[in-house]
Amino acid sequence: MEELVNLFHGFAVALQPYNIMLMVLGIVLGVIIGVLPGLGGANGVAILLPLTFSMSPTSAIIMLSCIYWGALFGGAITSILFNIPGEPWSVATTFDGYPMAQQGKAGEALTAAFTSSFVGALFAVIMITLVAPLVASFALQFGPAEKFAVYFLAFCSFVGLSKEPPFKTIAAMMIGFALAAVGLDSITGQLRLTFGVTHLLNGFDFLIAVIGLFGIGEILLTMEEGLAFRGGKAKIDLRVVLQTWKELPKYWMTSLRSCFIGCWMGITPAGATPASFMSYGIAKRVAKNGKNFGKGEIEGVVAPETAAHAAGTAALLPMLSLGVPGSPTAAVLLGGLLIWGLQPGPMLFVEQKEFVWGLIASMYLGNLVGLIVVLTCVPIFAAILRVPFSIIAPLILVLCAIGAYSVHSSTFDVMLMLVFGAIGYLLKKCNYPLAPLVLAIVLGDKAEEAFRQSLLGSQGSFGIFLSNPLVSTIMILGLIALFWSVIQEGYTRLRGTVAGPGSRAA
């Protein structure tokens, strides 16, 4: 009860006109950050952090968290319009969002993405409001073995999905793992696969690979097919929002499932990326029209976006209650709290009530404000596709170059991006799936790290992956996901044999 009082007090703080103005400003900045590749949420928050020192901590965190929301919303825009995911968790959004845009349904895809983001985030905030302390202790149970199990589950729920030949899928995924392994091996502190090239110290950053493979690769494919974007006939009318909304409730089951996956992943803190892939993978298996996923199915946009945002929001909880950031952006926010003299950790909820509940209240309001802002802009975003290709293409290429450069401030990365672009074009033409490759780059080294940390702890015994109910459950879920198609087939066969002789009751 006391919490509710605090929350309403928080609303009162957040609803001051000055704070609402900051919210809108934060959302707009955030959307810009999300749209421009290379400016991640972490960049934006980090760069604006010093500017917020003249405000009260509550106002500052409201503005910064709104930048965070804005960036989360904005990430979907480039994914859908140009097949360029600006953040790892937007990759899964491209799978169906971009085909939709190509069919002239950019407005629908954007509306679905924004609305799902809102739903996911709202769900996570409600969870934070109601069960924060409980959830924090759940997060503590995640050691290396549990984390590895989560990554394993993410991979398993995603592989076996592609329609491409299985050995090409394996090759693509392994290329991703190999690229992820380049650079410093975090367990032994030793360099590997760098061959003495200092540019490779970093390894291959996800963003550079994905801008090249997806973004540049797509432009090259478009060039081959003649100079035209196929999304030109997108409706640029606000009515598209309402029409899409009428359709969305049909997917409540997918939404709800994705919310749970997202919250769980956000807390663990495996993060939003596995959440979006996992949610997409499971939706594809379970959905009625799962076969059409990847061809522009609206449900394929709903699932990853809902999960990614639920996770992105839920990740703030371990940050506040444990001091462990669930994402780089959260890490910078965390730094901000410290600078303001607020110590994240178990005592924050006790000692800094006004701040915490102000933040939670701003999560509700910030998301709502964000949704309104981005939805009203849907027609504008969709209209971008009407710009002739020979104007938009060089601009996209320049933006991609800037994005690739700003990851590590290195022109070498820009060249690498172009190489990835050419590779993406060739691989796509040769029927190699790119999604497993990207998934492996994003999660490969994390999974390897968790795996080896677990083995270090268990002195080399694999039993650690079945050592307690939590890790065993996740591992078994992973195995079920891996052999889903086999299981499904067996199930239908079983049903067939049962139904065959047993004509007992209809």
Binding site: Q190, I216, M223, S390, L397, Y405
Partner: protein, 165 residues
């Protein structure tokens, strides 16, 4: 040689696919060599740095072998792309490569202006006023957003140095 006359010919899909598969296999070999250098056995700290990459390299090699076999057996006489289409693709790849390659020397802004102008003029056939407006407008907006607003320094060349930016 005009675009029209070269239609309907081009590299076969089979050939290109074999090439890509071999390139992937080569990548696998490089990964294996690099892993051997890092140590592939099981050390006192658990698996050594090269342990996983080594098997990943083996997987790449093995799956490439299977893909190559599948690819060559396939009865696919189709074209990978027509020469005209490939020329279109190269007409983007080569200028972009020049753009990217010149960036460390002349900076991002000048390179972008030239690149955008080239693209719009030669591929889009726009008149010079629109070309110049976009070619200069975009880098200027970029300058303000990135350098001034978000304070992300982008590569600069002698001209920016001279202008004192």
């Amino acid at each position: 040689m005009t675009t029209g006359s070269s239609s309907n010919t081009g590299p076969t899909h089979k050939l290109v696919e074999a090439g890509v598969t071999l390139a992937i296999a080569l990548f696998g070999v490089i990964v294996i060599l690099g892993s051997l250098k890092a140590g592939i056995n099981w050390g006192p700290e658990g698996p050594r740095a090269g342990f996983f990459p080594f098997y990943i390299g083996l997987f790449i090699l093995a799956s490439s072998a299977i893909n190559l076999w599948h690819g060559l057996r396939e009865d696919n006489d189709g074209l990978f792309a027509e020469w005209g289409q490939l020329r279109q693709v190269l007409s983007v790849v080569i200028p972009t490569a020049i753009y990217v390659g010149s960036m460390p020397f002349i900076g991002l802004y000048v390179a972008s202006i030239v690149f955008i102008a080239w693209f719009m003029r030669w591929l889009g056939k726009y008149n010079w006023i629109i070309v110049l407006a976009v070619a200069f407008g975009m880098p200027i907006v970029t300058y303000f957003i990135f350098e001034r607003w978000f304070m992300v320094p982008l590569p600069k060349g002698p001209i920016e140095e001279w202008l004192g930016l």
